[in-house]
Subunit: 598 residues, 2 copies
């Protein structure tokens, strides 16, 4: 049996009661995504992830990637699993039917993605990048490019990459220097080096489609002079068959702390010739827009990585805590070595994981549903509202999800005691793997600045105000004794959220103070939003449980307890965070760099 | 130049104004430890750690340990550095003069230890274990054992180990099953396997002295039936020369997440013969007492590891933040790529590290000074008071220091962005290395239970009450505008500490509720104690700075700012933590193990 159990029950619950799958299925675009079809699909996806993919995770960590004569060799088990992935069409779930996709809501694709991340994070990054490339191409590419490349990318037969980063241009994409020169035939010649290119080279697919940010000769400086190019590893002939090898090579693979089996490549363009052959995607100098298309989706996807890996680590820690006997628990007979799950402190660690995993799953799924509504709802006003909602959620999903990934895998290591530090136990891998997620796709600090600098000011702050008012409605709706403490704590936390939001909005002339409070505010807001989702879950669970039996009843009872734990023991963090939000930038800049070193 | 700068200025400040080195030097036992002598000593120690040891850190990580024919091969550079360590007598600083030690206060030895940890954590574990073995032997061994073994262990020519853990006996030492059978000649024959034995085998020293917990044939069950034995790798002849190889072998070396160059051994005793030759240390069945002698010191030492590694990571992050240019800072000219230290969020990360490193350094150094006073003060009442104070401080030092080690090395990784995830940068190693410290020498959960279950109840709670009253005196003494916000926040935090302490003391009939609040309470208390030390530092800095100039003046100004940052932005955590402390065990045990898995 796999050591990973897809969280199907919780996914169904979130689909139904938090993310509104039923409403999505009312839309023309998603009429085929009725809850029953989706339930079957997700169950099958879970089986694939648990039984085929999850067992490859440790092999990937131990084997890593090997660069040999310009070719990157992945762990042996990956090829078979990847073929199964292509055959089943898992990569195509959300993509347009026109190119062979299933056109399911992103919500559904994200549930698959969560399980794939949990099963093997390193492996899942190939599909993640391909998906981003499909989005960019389908939104911005010419018809010819789309017809030539999308069908095989949607199926997964060809993979995709994003080539943004250069040594001097990481978070600051505007500093890109890779050059693109027009050729006589309407194509371009690309020259330059890109770093940190995930799945930049591998043998899983017969072609790799690189999307590359570069500058045209007449490009203005900064982000306004960036264009996007498609550079295939093998040129594609008119009949769709593969032609000559293009002048793009992997020159190094990085030695990383984790996600060992995900090749992180340094890619060289045009080193052997006058440039790699590239095709312009979208308008000249308009590459940033296409990049954001890839990136917004990828940011939510990376947030999911945190949730997913925390869940896998949680499952492993829970099993360990039941098996491992050590010390005598309170009330246990003398001489007994109790399972460590009987110790209060181990329970605290498990509940800390469970509560925050469930809360962040709600957030990331609601985020996906908002993107779906923004895309497919017939009413323009609803589309606009949900676009803003998705924009607000995305930095929360990315930064909170990935910070939790790091914190909670650390808790899982701790539950394992000494065994947690030994690689054979596997839990150390989750801890190492999780650490990348707060960094890539925009560091979490950048997410926080996006939140306070771009998202809070929507409609002069009225959008976030009405969002908070909606959460208050949730809190006010919590009736009865069993929900009383959730209501109290959520109401208190919403007061803090409202207060700190207004403080930030009122500081807009002093942007440094706003930026100084960005990271603690993001944590604060995400914690409260997560708390509101948990409160809603508890309310639903309370309504449903009298009609439920067996495991479903146990699940609903657990939801209530978990939501209460979250309200009483996680939400109060906001009372500390608010001081950080409003402390201003004064002390951050009071010391010179030299003084910081004394 | 080394990439590690010993924090000499801060160490001197803490010696003088926090840990009371001048008072220690008034005691007969430490009359030779006058501040000037100590300053010179620590400076030289710092030079050794920075210039000789620090450069070996990455080699150790890459090379790791290799087990070949029962011998453990360490990185090549270690032998030379270890010889220098022995020659200079660094290991002997605190040990009794009778056996060749310098008999300096533990406070002084700990400053050396901090720097050695920072320079190379894996390397430093050999000396750490030897030190623990010296303590156990010098307190509990017979004169004959002491004369035979201590001189060479004090000098470091022979190293020592602690053999506690067995597969079924990790945190629960009472479950040990290794056997000791009396032989006719007054020695014992030891048989059994021990796991997680740090520096259990290596070639740095010509002999290794294992201290082994085992059971005599007539031993009662549990911790009351544990005895301590000395088992040398090579038997020692009457003239002190090395004799036959004893029947103790390293059968495996663990593959760990970090501290790669510290051999973590599985040790087999008596597999070839009827048992390894061992010598009883202390009385039969009294091994736990000796073990605690080793362990209490080791717990403080492990706390220091967290502080040390966080400081090294901080230094590296600070350098990187000044060198790395990315994005335009607020107020910087258009088109500039600013050093990332000019971004508020990076400053927040640096200040978060600096403030907590300094606070936890104060705590661990004050802890050492309390141990020194408990040992060497002429007044019994002062000794008793300081013993209790050290007992209270030790779980705080261990758990808070090591939790901060993990959290702050993670912050350092984040400051490095993508480079932080690449092993070549070196910062990933600190993150991996730091993760062991919350686990070994009693997990941090065990520290928390020790704090609330054993330390708070001293004198029916009156000891901790008077301790808190002392901190209030510190807060009340903060006068003037520059200290006003520190005073306010510290006073608020002390109210929370007092309130939660009383709550825990009042729950003593319901021990499960006390244990449920243990971990958040430890964090809360340590944060407040650290805040009081920082407040005292600020007060001193304010007094001294008008007479200071140059770097010293800059340092004192920085102290004030750092203390204010701590007060305004770290201390308020307590307002969240208090809810966790007093939430009771209800929700921790409301779910069955099966429900936790739903």
């Amino acid at each position: 049996m796999s050591d990973y159990q897809p969280p199907l029950r919780d996914i169904r619950f979130v689909f139904e009661h938090i993310a509104g799958l039923r409403d999505l299925a009312q839309l023309d675009a998603y009429a085929h995504a009725d809850p029953e079809t989706v339930a079957g699909l997700v169950e099958e996806a879970g089986r694939f992830c648990a039984e085929a993919v999850a067992p490859t995770n440790r092999e990937g960590d131990v084997h890593g990637t090997v660069l040999r004569d310009g070719e990157v060799i992945l762990p042996e088990s990956f090829q078979k699993v990847y073929s199964q992935y292509v055959e089943a069409g898992w990569g195509a779930l959300h993509h347009p039917a026109e190119f062979g996709g299933g056109e399911f809501p992103l919500l559904v694709a994200n549930a698959f993605k969560e399980m794939l991340n949990a099963a093997n994070l390193a492996f899942s990054l190939g599909p993640l990048l391909t998906t981003g490339a499909v989005y960019a191409l389908s939104h911005h590419g010419s018809d010819e490019l789309k017809q030539t490349y999308l069908p095989k990318m949607v199926s997964g037969e060809w993979s995709g990459t994003m080539n943004l980063t250069e040594p001097q241009a990481g978070s600051d994409v505007g500093a890109v220097t890779t050059k693109a020169v027009p050729a006589d035939d309407g194509t371009y010649r690309i020259t330059g080096q890109k770093i940190f290119i995930t799945f930049g080279e591998h043998q899983l697919t017969e072609n790799i489609i690189h999307l590359v940010l570069a500058r045209l000769p007449d490009a203005p400086p900064g982000t306004k002079g960036i264009s996007l190019f498609l550079v295939p590893k093998f040129l594609v002939d008119d009949d769709g068959s593969l032609g000559a090898r293009n002048d793009v090579t992997c020159v190094t693979v990085e030695h990383k702390m984790g996600i060992m089996a995900s090749p992180t490549c340094v890619m060289a363009y045009g080193e052997q010739t006058d440039g790699a052959v590239g095709y312009l995607v979208g308008a000249p100098h308009d590459g940033m827009r296409a990049m954001f298309t890839m990136m917004n989706d990828a940011r939510l996807g990376v947030g999911l990585e945190g949730v997913a890996i925390a869940d896998r680590a949680y499952q492993q820690a829970l099993t360990y805590a039941q098996d491992r006997r050590q010390g005598r628990a309170v009330g246990a007979p003398a001489g007994e070595q109790s399972p460590i799950i009987m110790h209060a402190d181990v329970r605290r660690m498990l509940m800390t994981m469970k509560a925050q995993i469930e809360a962040s799953r709600c957030l990331t799924y609601a985020n996906a549903a908002a993107i779906d509504l923004a895309h497919a709802h017939p009413e323009p006003a609803t589309r606009e509202y949900n676009q803003k909602l998705a924009d607000l959620y995305t930095p929360l999903s990315k930064a909170w999800g990935t910070d939790l990934g790091v914190e909670l895998t650390s808790v899982a290591v701790q539950i394992h005691g000494g065994m947690g530090y030994i690689e054979e136990s596997g839990v150390a891998q989750h801890y190492r793997d999780a650490r990348i997620a707060p960094i890539y796709e925009g560091t979490n600090g950048i997410q926080a600045i996006d939140l306070v600098g771009r998202k809070l000011p929507y409609d002069n702050g009225d959008f976030v105000r009405s969002f908070i008012a909606d959460l208050r409605t949730t809190a006010d709706g919590l009736a009865g004794e069993e929900l009383a403490s959730i209501r109290t704590h959520l109401t208190d936390a919403l007061d803090v959220l409202a207060e700190t939001t207004e403080w930030l909005l009122s500081q807009r002339d002093d942007v440094q103070d706003v930026f100084a409070g960005a990271t603690p505010f993001l944590r604060l807001m995400a914690t409260v939003v997560g708390g509101a989702f948990m409160a809603r879950s508890a309310q639903v669970a309370l309504e449903l449980r009298d009609d439920a039996a067996g495991e479903e009843r146990d699940f609903l009872d657990a939801k209530l307890v978990t939501a209460r734990f979250y309200a009483e023991q996680v939400l109060p963090q906001v009372h500390g965070l608010k001081h950080q939000v409003t402390a201003t930038a004064r002390d951050l800049f009071a010391l010179s760099p030299a003084q910081l070193g004394l």
